[in-house]
Amino acid sequence: MVIKTEPFVLNIGPAHPSTHGVFRMRTTLDGEVVVDLQPVFGYLHRGIEKLAEERTYTQNIPFTDRLDYLASMSNNLAYVMAVEKLASIPVPERAEYLRVIMAELQRLASHLIAVGSFLNDCGAFMTPILYMIREREKILDLFEMVSGQRLTYNYMRIGGVSQDIPQEFLPALHKFVEEMPGFIDEYDQLLAENEILLARSKGVGILPREQAINISASGPVLRASGVKWDIRKADPYSVYDRLEFEIPTGSVGDCYDRYRVRVEEMRQSVRIIKQATEQLPSGEVRSPVPQRLHPPVGEVYGHIEAPKGELGFYLVSDNSIAPYRFHTRAPSLMNLTALRDMIVGWKLADLIIIFGSIDICMGEVDR
């Protein structure tokens, strides 16, 4: 007897425990196997790019906090660097170092959430993500010291940072940097060789090197596919050229490689923070910037290596106080492009972890 079967459509999201926000996947399933997938986004669209055209350059900084809300510092940095490039504003050296420290702390915080929620998607019931959140809390405490905020920091300013670090910051940072490598090793040891995790993520959701380049993927997703591309090395900004660190890459481009690359990057970030605190000079943290900033007519593209990939801001100035055009190159959106090719043919359970391994933030995808 032959039982007649037919594929059916399953809507995953926009409200689903593991869509990391309000993302919707219209999947066609043949039993457990995904035969087609159609990503639908826009549920979190707030019109930030349009709003930004009506506000001054300084007023736009808080908007960038709300793009990738798990990496506000990096967003701040990318935006203020683009404006500084547009208006040719110098930045004091101390501010540059502070920015690097904050950006790397932010990378740690973002990767902790990425790795934790990836493992949660794999079905490790809450334990890894709670430990990751425990470490992330320490970073948030540090951010609270310097900016007064725990999520949307609004710390960077055009021409520097909003204020110098308080006295208790450096000892606390030092303690954190000393402890963190031990924690990373411990968590890595607990799960990296786990038979079930290997079976679930090795060889799953492969993004080939050529395709990764073709879709303009960036960040850990690109590096896991074996491309040694990191804006911090490829187009050094701030003071990254004075700091020593390595770019971890994967070889296959599967979910496991993406997980490994993130863990390795966390180790490198700790290394960068350590060097930056040692080299931290004294002095001003903000250069004088006119209250009503009129950048000369022109356009600029400033980009940094954000935790999720290449975060770029494209600004067009018409010599008024507001940008004529404000565009964000969001790494999450670019990395999502390969979703269908990575997922089709895998099972429903793999869909979730492949999606989780890309590490997206809907605030950035929909803007």
Binding site: F8, A124, F125, M126, I196, G345, I352
Partner: protein
């Protein structure tokens, strides 16, 4: 070694009195223990996950389950408009009742049980597999795709794992020479976990899959299919499934304690207390596993049952049979060491051949 006298078979006197008292005892035991289990698991998971767990309702949060029960009873009871209403209504009962029935043959202490069936363990295996029908009814009656996927997964998984589960029990039955749970306990001068290390591991794995606990909790994998078969359930009907899930965990803990850990035997302490200590110990192991390992994919779960557990269970059965025939009253200690060595070698060698793989389906 046990100074506590066994209870007479018709304690506390008379057929109907015995029957009535034990029904009340079992109902009270299951409901109370499930409530304590809920608290125990949540507090335990809290400790494992570097947080506190429930600690507001009552001392140490002990009344959290009571608060949850009150909340769940006052919730609106929603029935999907396009669902199969009768099946939807019946499903929670069909899932929960067999779990209660199993307790009829579990000895709380010597003689303290509702019915000392001479085919006790067979009865346990037979009755406990009815639950899966309730789960499938829930998945079907909800008219929800997530529920249906969860239910289909459960049926495939539970039916597959019945086989290694049954074969692992045969090892115990061969040694004790009886299917009655009382006699299995009576035969355990040395707990059977030492005679049957491999059987214990297979039984533990298979029963984790039977009761759908992590890492085999694909039927309600919250990160994939929301809540699986009970996505559409609310109110007390949801509560029944929740109850059934923990009652199943209680059954499995009790059976493992009875078959492999010597049941109520232990000495010094009252037998009932020994039984409870062992049950709580096994349950700790279950939620410890839950909090530690990621979930296995459905095809890997099936592969694990058929390619790993089933052959090992068969080998275990043959080895136990040979030992029982050749050494009917042989020295226990050499056999214990031999069996532990066999278990270690088999697991290591077999895991070399077996990989939890499974891959992409080409279109």
């Amino acid at each position: 070694m046990n100074s506590f006298a066994p209870l007479p078979p018709d304690w506390p006197g008379g057929y109907w009195l015995h029957w009535g008292v034990f029904v009340i005892i079992i109902l009270a035991f299951v409901l109370l223990t499930v409530m304590i289990f809920l608290w125990y698991e949540r507090r335990g998971l809290g400790r494992i996950q570097a947080r506190l767990g429930p600690n507001r309702a009552g001392p140490l949060g002990l009344f959290q389950s009571v608060a949850d029960a009150v909340k769940i009873l006052t919730k609106e009871d929603i029935v999907p408009a396009k669902g199969d209403k009768i099946v939807f209504w019946l499903a929670p009962a069909v899932a929960f009742v067999p779990v209660l029935l199993v307790f009829a043959v579990i000895p709380f202490q010597d003689g303290a049980m509702l019915a000392d069936l001479n085919v006790g363990i067979l009865y346990v295996v037979a009755v406990s597999s009815i639950s899966v029908i309730g789960i499938f009814m829930a998945g079907w009656g909800s008219n929800n795709k997530y529920s249906l996927i969860g239910a289909m997964r459960t049926v495939a998984q539970v039916v597959s794992y019945e086989i290694p589960l049954g074969l692992a029990i045969i090892g115990v039955v061969l040694i004790s020479g009886s299917l009655s749970l009382t006699e299995i306990v009576a035969a355990q001068n040395i707990p059977f976990i030492l005679f049957q290390p491999l059987g214990f591991l297979i039984f533990l794995m298979a029963s984790l899959a039977e009761i759908n606990r992590a890492p085999f909790d694909v039927m309600e994998a919250d990160s994939e299919i929301v809540a699986g078969f009970h996505t559409e359930y609310s109110g007390m009907k949801y509560g029944m499934f929740y109850l059934a899930e923990y009652a199943e965990a209680l059954v499995v803990s009790a059976i493992i304690a009875t078959l492999f850990l010597g049941g109520w035997r232990g000495g010094v302490l009252p037998p009932v207390l020994w039984f409870l200590i062992k049950v709580f110990g096994v349950f700790f192991l279950i939620f410890w596993i839950r909090s530690t390992v990621p979930r296995v994919r459905i095809d890997q779960i099936m592969g694990f049952a058929w390619k790993f557990l089933l052959p090992l269970a068969l080998i275990n059965m043959f080895i136990t049979g040979i030992e029982v025939v050749l050494l009917p009253d042989g020295l226990p200690w050499p056999i214990i060491f031999l069996n532990i060595a066999i278990a270690v070698i088999l697991v290591v060698v077999w895991s070399r051949f077996f990989k939890l793989g499974g891959g992409r389906v080409e279109a």
